[in-house]
Symmetry: C2
Subunit: 172 residues, 2 copies
């Protein structure tokens, strides 16, 4: 009976993990599909007058996902040099940006490697502390775990996807 | 020992519920804050040229949250009449819309009642089947539970929040 309850615990965790990761993968698949549809001319345009350009938002999404590697214990980042232009500075900062073809390649590389790590992390590990919260704070706030990062960053991605779709015709 | 494992299960579930609901409440608080900042002139405007207006998106968000009441077993909907204009039809359909002041009131009413239901649902209940999935499908796909609806609709809200912020100055 004890084993049965313990395995139910594992199964419950696995279900949670699937819920959060399915949402992450689903929204990133929508970004990927949109990127495949948009040409360079679409992507250099502003998403709305005076607002962030497509190219800035793509760089921003790459940099944010890349920044999660050390936070989640997934090892070294691929493109830490993007932070200055795409996280620390706003669009039109005058800082040089990589070519759109390069940014699309970065997006693919970061997301592929991130998905690999995600798929390999055991369910239990997702409920452990991430590296942006101290052990003391985590003891008081156990919801500040690795999976919570995924939930929050999925919302961040969907927020900017809602803006990126304005670069395409007939999408709302 | 058995009790200890069982209570750990409950605690894990409670933590996960907190993660998903915090994200829902957080994004809805951001929508509320934005609504309080925007006047009627801002809200009748398009979020970008040729795109959905603020008023349409607000009606859409009210209608979507309202539609969750029966799906989650929270009882009767408050404003089912909004679906025709704000879910089944696109913006500029020619269908009459409620006044902006009314829509803001609807938004407050729906969200307040929804939050009440959320706060009263026991953690275990969140992992039960929602009413848009059959028992047979749920047996095969246990992640299609009530909490998953919250995770997915939070992403829906953040997607449209990313668009609604374009009605305000200096927000990205």
């Amino acid at each position: 009976m004890q084993t049965q309850i313990a395995s139910e615990t594992i199964s419950t965790k696995a279900v949670f993990v699937k819920m959060a990761i399915s949402a992450w993968e689903g929204y990133n698949a929508r970004v990927k599909k949109l990127l495949d549809e948009l040409n360079d001319e679409h992507l250099v345009a502003e998403t709305a007058p005076g607002r962030n350009s497509g190219v800035y938002l793509i760089g921003h999404l790459v940099a944010i996902t890349d920044s999660l590697f050390p936070i989640l214990g997934f090892g070294k980042r691929l493109y830490p040099e993007l932070d200055k232009t795409f996280i620390e500075s706003p669009d039109k900062s005058g800082l040089e940006m990589p070519a759109i073809s390069e940014l699309k390649e970065y997006w693919n590389n970061v997301n592929a490697k991130f998905s690999d790590h995600i798929s390999q992390l055991p369910a239990d590990e997702w409920f452990t502390r991430h590296n942006n919260v101290s052990e003391a704070d985590f003891a008081k706030e156990p919801h500040r775990n690795k999976l919570n990062i995924i939930i929050n960053r999925t919302n961040h991605t969907s927020y900017h996807l809602g803006q990126l779709v304005y670069l395409a015709k007939n999408k709302n």
